[in-house]
Structures are given as C-alpha cells and as structure tokens.
Amino acid sequence: MSTVLLLLITGIGLGALYFLVASGLSLIYGLMGVLNFAHGSFLTLAGFLGWEVGRRIGDGSWAGLLTGMLVGLVVGAVVAALTELIFIRPLYNRHIEQVLVTVGLGLASVALFEGIWGTDPIQIRLPEWLGGTTDVLGANIPNDRWLLIATAVVVLGLIVLFLQRTSYGLVIRAGVENRTMVTALGIDVRRAFTIVFAIGGAAAGLGGVLASVYYGQVGAHQGTSLLIYAFIVTVIGGLGSLTGAAIASVLVAVIQQFANFYLGGTGDLAIVLALAAVLLVRPTGLMGKVKH
C-alpha cells in the first residue's frame, strides 16, 4: 500500500513537471499551430540562470532557490517572447518553416549551453528540507515532490484565471477555437501570440528550475529530454487544451512510475504504448477539439 502511494505521489510530482512544460506547448500549438521545439531550450536556460543567480544569493538556501525560481520564470518569459518576435513572427502562417526554425534553435542552444556550462550535468545544492521525506500513511514521500505539485497547481490556477477573466484570455480562447474568425472581427491576434509564448515560456522556465530540484542537477540536455515527454503529454491531452495537458501530465507520469517499478523499468515503453492507444481511439487526444 505504501509503495502504491509513494509511486502515485511521486508520479504526480513528475506530472507537475511535465505540465509546466506541456501547458505552454499546448497553448502555443492551439493558438498558433506552431510545434515549438525550442521550448526545451527555454527550460534549460532558465534552469542554468536560475541556478547561477540562486547560488550567489545563497547556495542551498530557500532564499537562493526562490530567487532562482523567480529568475527562471522571468528568463523563460523574456526568451520565449523574444523567440516569438524575432523568429516566429516573420514566418507568420508558414508552419513548416516555423517548426524548422524552432528545431534549429533547440539544437543550436544545446550546443551553446554545452559550450558555457560543459557537457556533464552539474550537481546542485538544495535546501535541506527538500532532501528529506514526509511520512504519508507509511509512505516516505520525497519533500521536493510537494514543491513541484504546489507550483504546478498555482501555475494552472493562474493560467486558467488569465484565460477566463481577462480580455486577452478571451481573445486567446477564441483564437484557439478559430483564429481566422478572430482576425475577421478586426482583432490583432499577433499580440496574443507573444503573450501566449511568454506565458508558456514562464511556465517552462519555472519547470527548468524545478527540474533541477527534481534531478538534483542542471544540465544542457535537461530541456530536450523533458520536451519529449511534454510533447507526448500534449498529444495525449489534446493539442490546445490546457485541462487536457494537466490531466495527461499526471496520467503519463503515474503510468511511467508504475511501469518502471512493477514492469521492470518499462516506463518509457508504457508511455509510448499509451500514446499509440490514445491516437488510435481518439486521434484528437483526450480533450482535443474535434475539427469539423
């Protein structure tokens, strides 16, 4: 029983990480039709810079970590917004080129990070409490999972609030449904594009810092490997659906944990099978919009 609980909560914690990456991917694709392969680079860069600033504030302290998270958030948002303005906007409506440019950015940035911070991951120091465990009904849950889950819940809440309660949120929700029609109303959706990129980047940036907490290290390839899972989550959840991304994140991560533990480390295989199953039964994903 305690093993099941441990796997479940650990899975949800990992799912929280997936969600931070997948939420942006899903919104960006939903609104703009862009598969952003540079998303992992936002995460990696934010992870590195968050760590660099955080350890100067106080290595292994809460002040350092929280500053790092803030830095990660800002770095992710700014870099994502710049990416949209400089690389995506000039290729408006040319989806193949947009994808190619993000793939190029993804590859080039990893090489850049390796040049600056080296090819090997760097072990980092964390506040002591995060290294400990909490007893929940006999299961010893690593404390860092709580931080991941809490952050993802707050991010989900803020994005939902933004989408439901602001003028721009309304434009974005309408744009995800039918972008052409929003334009026909005389609304310039390009600013909404930049905002969606910035929001997605901010979430990924937070994810970058939290990924370093989860793995206990920062590395040039952290974003790339998480991006693959995030894409799977996004497709399973339904491209463009935030709720779908949230549900699928937890689902994928929990399946992965259980398969790794009970089926001899076949977590990745289990996820890919789940992806294939969803695509066969519901090609639009769990919550994806059905195109008529």
């Binding site: 434009v171 005389g186 909404a192």
Partner: protein
C-alpha cells in the same frame, strides 16, 4: 443618385485566369438603405460580397465606403471604417458563451484587448455593450449559454449581435436565413428589420425570395457575373430581362 452613398462600386470586375467572374458592376447604396442581392447560383453574389468586404480584390474598378476608396484595403482595415459582414456558414465561437462572443466583438471596437492586465468582467464597458447587443437581437436570456448549443436561428441572431457590437455603418448579410428552421424565420426577419430601422445600411444576399422582397428598399439582380437590374422589388419583378434570366435558368 444619392447625396452620400454609403457604398459605391464603379465598374468593378474580377477576372481569374481567363474566367470572367464579375464584369462591370456599378451600383450605389444610399446611407440607411436596405438592398437585397438575388440571382441564380453562380451569378456572382458571394464574389460581390467578398469584393466589398475585402476578402477578394477586384482586377478592375473601385470600391468606395462613405466616399473613401477602399479597393485595395484588407478585411480588418475595412472593418475599422465601419463595414461588417456575416458569412453563409455560421461563424460563432462554439466554446464561448453568447455573452463572451459578443464581448469579443465589442473588444475589437473598444480596443479593450490592448490592456492585458486589466481584469475586466461584470459591469465594464465591453460587458455593457455585449448585453445591449444581445438585447437588441432578443438573446439576452442566453447570455451565459455556450454558443455551440444554441439553435441555428439563435446562432444567426448571435452573429448579428456580434456584428452590431462592432458598430458597423454598412452591414453585409450573406444568406442570413440559410439553414434556419421555419419557426425561427419570423424572429430573424424582425431582427434584420430592426437592424435597418436603427439607421444602418444593409446589403443582403438571400434566397428566401418572399422574405427578401418584403424587407428591402431595392433589389439588385445578378446574372452571369453582371448586374442585370437594380430597382424596387415591384419594378424588378416586372422586369422582363429578370424574368427571362430566372425562367431561363429554372430547372
């Protein structure tokens, strides 16, 4: 013919490849006038609408809105100078509520979408406009209903409410009765009548002949990409050329 035509087409033509889609269409619609456009399928009615709204650019001639040459202007530029249109196929956001649909349209006019950090909801200007527009088309009781579950006739009314929210002076309605159940027609006719009565200039394509003839001030008849006649409903029906065009095309 008019002191200040709201809409003026001069010798408008559209040629795609060797095909003549529209030829030498000249017409004026006076401010506050309601004009119906009829003609057999393929006569060029929708092409005419696309040229007026800026979806297509004519290969010859000029399009003027309130005296301004807008021939080469894009759709959203024309929307800014007071042109609004609905489409043959229903174009509401199914996932948003009726209120949100109209609110979105109102935002485009108010520029509310330019302040992302404001938390606008109940009681702000766009919400007021949305409520007023829904009242005008008689849909205010559906303000919180998802547009996707509205009846076809109500969706059409919602589109008109969205149109009103953008405060257009010239309104193009592309087959507003298409696919609307017979029970909804009377209500929709009333909405269009009010749209006109409030001083807006209306140009509409409609196949429902009896509905159209009872509504409009004048009728424009299209045939093979040309404007065959434009006159009062009575005069047009008595026009032998028009009768021939229609009888000749009847299956």
């Amino acid at each position: 013919m008019f002191d200040r035509p709201a809409l003026q087409l001069d010798a408008v033509g559209l040629q795609i490849g060797g095909a003549r889609i529209l030829h030498d269409v000249t017409l004026q619609v006076g401010t506050g006038e309601m004009v119906g456009v009829i003609g057999p399928n393929g006569a060029g009615k929708t092409t005419l609408f696309n040229i007026i709204s800026g979806v297509m650019i004519p290969t010859s001639g000029t399009v003027r809105l309130a005296g301004n040459d807008v021939t080469g202007h894009k759709v959203h530029q024309r929307a800014r100078v007071g042109l609004g249109r609905t489409f043959q196929t229903s174009s509401v956001f199914a996932g948003l509520t009726a209120g949100e649909n109209v609110r979105l349209a109102a935002q485009s006019k108010l520029g509310g979408a330019t302040s992302p950090w404001r938390f606008p909801r109940e009681g702000d200007e766009a919400a007021g406009v949305a409520r007023r527009c829904l009242e005008e088309v008689g849909l205010v009781h559906h303000i919180g209903t998802k547009a996707g579950v509205l009846s076809h006739g109500d969706k059409r009314k919602l589109e008109i409410a969205m149109l009103i929210a953008t405060e257009p002076e010239v309104v193009l309605l592309d087959e507003p009765m298409a696919g609307v159940g017979s029970g909804d027609v009377a209500g929709l006719v009333e909405v269009i009548r009010r749209l006109h009565a409030s001083g807006r200039t209306v140009l509409m394509v409609e196949h429902h002949m009896e509905v159209l003839l009872g509504l409009v001030d004048r009728v424009a008849v299209m045939h093979h990409g040309e404007l065959l006649a434009i006159d009062t409903p009575k005069a047009v029906m008595a026009n032998s050329q028009v009768q021939q065009a229609y009888l000749g095309e009847t299956v």
